[in-house]
Symmetry: C2
Subunit: 338 residues, 2 copies
C-alpha cells in the first residue's frame, strides 16, 4: 500500500541503494542526486517501512517496560518518563503489565515475547535471583526497583534500607514511639518489602526503640485497599501505633482513609509516611509525607542503559545504580517543608 524505496528510486532515476543512503546517511551522496531524491521523497510522501528495516538489521526498535501494576501511579509516572526517553532515542516503548504474576514475569524473562523486542526493563516482584539467572533470552535486561541482586544485568533502584531509615528517623524525630509498618509480604516475594522492613527494624534499633512484631502488618497486595484493611487491624490492637510507615504511598493513603473513618486525627494521633511521591499524596487530606525517589532519573537511566546495551555501546560504571531520594515532609507528619 505505502510508498516504498523502489518508488522513490524510479521517480528520482537512481538506484535503491542511493535512496537508502539519502535516508540513512550510511555513505555520502552527491548534492544534486540528494536533492532529486529528497524531492521525490517529499512528493510521494515516503516513510520507511520499519518492519523491513528491522528485519534486515535484526532489531525491531521496540523495547518493553514491564510493571506489576500500571494503575499504580508510581508506575504510570515512570512509564510516561520512559516513553518519552525511548522516543528520543528512536525506540518505541511497549507497556507490559505483569499484574504481579509470577508466570507473566517468567514469560517475559524467558522470551516467549522476546523475539519481538530488543530489550526489556522489568520491575520484578515474584521472581528472584535464580529465575533471572536462568533466563535464556539473549536480549538485554534492565531491572528496576525491586531487589534482585548479584545478577549480570543493569539494575536501577533506590537504597530501600536507607529510605526506610530516613522515614523512621523522621517519625522518631517528631516524637513517635510506637511506629507500625504496613506492607510486609507473606512469602519470599517482594524483595524490596523485606529491605524496607529491614531498614525499619534497623532504624528502630538505632533509636533505641523496641521492635514489636505485631506492629508489622502484612498485606497480600500493595494498593489502597490493602493499606486500609491493615490499618483497621492495627487500630484494633489493644495499644495502637502512633505512627505508620507504609510500603508505598498507596498503602499509606489507604491507611489515611482507615484513620479518618475511625475518627483518628492525622498527624496528632497517628503520623503517616509513604514512599513514591505520587501526585495524589499532595492532595490527600492531610497531605502525605513521603520518600521521593527520583523517578525521572530512574526512568531515563533505565532506558538509556538498555539502549546502550542493545546497541553494544560501552557502559561505564557499575551494574547497580542507586538513585537518590528525598524525604518530603507534609501534613501527615505535621511538619510540612517550606
Amino acid at each position: 500500500m505505502g510508498v516504498n524505496l523502489k518508488d522513490i528510486a524510479q521517480r528520482a532515476g537512481v538506484s535503491l541503494a542511493t535512496v537508502s543512503n539519502v535516508v540513512n546517511g550510511y555513505r555520502p551522496v552527491g548534492e544534486r542526486t540528494r536533492q532529486r531524491v529528497q524531492q521525490a521523497i517529499d512528493e510521494l510522501g515516503y516513510s520507511p517501512n520499519l518492519g523491513a528495516r528491522h528485519l534486515r538489521r535484526g532489531r525491531t526498535g521496540l523495547i518493553a517496560l514491564a510493571v506489576p501494576e500500571l494503575t499504580n501511579p508510581y508506575f504510570a509516572e515512570l512509564a510516561e518518563i520512559a516513553i518519552s526517553e525511548a522516543a528520543a532515542l528512536g525506540y518505541t516503548l511497549v507497556m507490559e503489565n505483569t499484574a504481579a504474576q509470577r508466570e507473566a514475569e517468567l514469560a517475559l524473562l524467558d522470551g516467549s515475547r522476546q523475539r519481538v523486542i530488543d530489550g526489556l526493563i522489568l520491575s520484578p516482584v515474584r521472581v528472584g535471583r535464580k529465575e533471572v539467572l536462568a533466563r535464556t533470552a539473549g536480549s538485554p535486561l534492565v531491572l528496576i526497583g525491586e531487589g534482585v541482586y548479584d545478577v549480570p544485568h543493569d539494575h536501577i533502584a533506590i537504597d530501600n534500607v536507607a529510605a526506610s531509615h530516613a522515614a523512621i528517623r523522621h517519625l522518631v524525630a517528631i516524637g513517635r514511639r510506637r511506629i507500625a509498618f504496613i506492607g510486609a509480604t507473606p512469602g519470599g516475594d517482594r524483595q524490596s518489602a523485606h529491605l524496607r522492613v529491614r531498614g525499619y527494624r534497623e532504624a528502630l534499633a538505632a533509636a533505641g526503640l523496641p521492635y514489636r512484631p505485631r506492629l508489622v502488618a502484612r498485606t497480600d497486595a500493595f494498593g489502597r485497599l490493602d493499606g486500609m484493611r491493615a490499618m483497621r487491624d492495627l487500630l484494633a490492637l489493644g495499644d495502637p501505633p502512633d505512627a505508620v510507615f507504609g510500603y508505598n504511598d498507596l498503602i499509606a493513603i489507604g491507611a489515611l482513609r482507615a484513620l479518618a473513618e475511625a475518627g483518628h486525627r492525622v498527624p496528632e494521633d497517628v503520623a503517616v509516611v509513604g514512599i513514591d511521591d505520587i501526585e495524589e499524596g499532595r492532595f490527600t487530606a492531610p497531605t502525605l509525607t513521603t520518600i521521593a525517589p527520583d523517578k525521572r532519573e530512574i526512568g531515563r537511566l533505565a532506558v538509556r542503559r538498555l539502549v546502550a546495551r542493545i546497541e553494544g555501546a560501552e557502559v561505564e560504571g557499575p551494574l547497580t545504580v542507586q538513585t537518590p531520594f528525598r524525604l518530603l515532609r507534609r501534613e501527615s507528619t505535621g511538619t510540612p517543608d517550606a
Copy 2:
C-alpha cells in the same frame, strides 16, 4: 542469532512450508510429520520471528493507544484493560502519550508513526472533525472519549450530556441550588468539556435554576492542581457555590483539597461530584461521588473494533457507540449508596 524456520526444517528433514504449516495451521500436516517437526521445535527452542512474519503479511501486530495523559488514573485503568484485550487477540499494544499536544495528535493521525502500527486508538483533545477527516494514513482509527463526530471512524464514548444531567439532577435532588462547574475550556478544544457544560446548563434549566456564568470555572488543564485552583477562585466569590461538578474526578479531588484547606465541610457546605470513577475517589476524605463510565466496556470495545477493522471483518452496528454509565453516590454528596 535465534533459531529459524530453516533450522527446524533441516532438523526434521522436511521443507520450510511444512514447518510453517505446523506453526500456523494454514493447511493440514500429516500426524507423523507434525510430531517430528514439533520435536525439532521443542529441542531447538524455536519461536517465529515476528518481524519477518509481519513484513510478509503486511502487518506488524502492533496497535497504539494514544492518550492525553498516562498519569491520569482514568487512562491508566483504561490502558490496563486495553493491553490485556489486545494480548488476547494476538496484538501488542503500544502506549503513546500525546500530552494533550495538538502536534502529537496530528502526527499520530497523519501517520509519521503509522507505518509501524496496524491501527490506532486515539483519545483526541486538541484536534477536531476537520483534522480527523484530513487524515491521510490508511490504517484503521478508533476514537474514544472526546466528541469528534460525523467522521467515518468508530467512536466509543459515553453520552457526555446525559452524564452531566445525571450529576446535576443528583445535586438538585439533595437540595443544592448554586451549582458550579469546574473544567470548561478556554478555546475550542475538549469537545467533551463543551458537552459536559451543555448538559450542566440544560439540567439547571430543567430544574428551574438560573445559569450563572460566574459559577463556570475554566481551567487550562484537567488535573488535581487545576481543580484546586479553580475551587479557590470560586470560594473567593461573594456568594460561593453549595455544590461543584468537576469535569473529571481529578478536578473534583483538587476541589476537595481546596475546600478542606479553606475549612469548608463536604458535603454539608459544598457537595462535590466528578466523572470517571477512578479508584482514588473511593479513598478520599470524604469519598467522591462520581459518574462511572464502563471502562471495561470502552477498553474492550475499542480494541475489538480496531482489530476487526484491521482484519477486514464486517462490523455490525453504528460507528458511534455510547457506552453506559452509572452515578455512584458517595460521601461527597452525603448520600452513599448501600
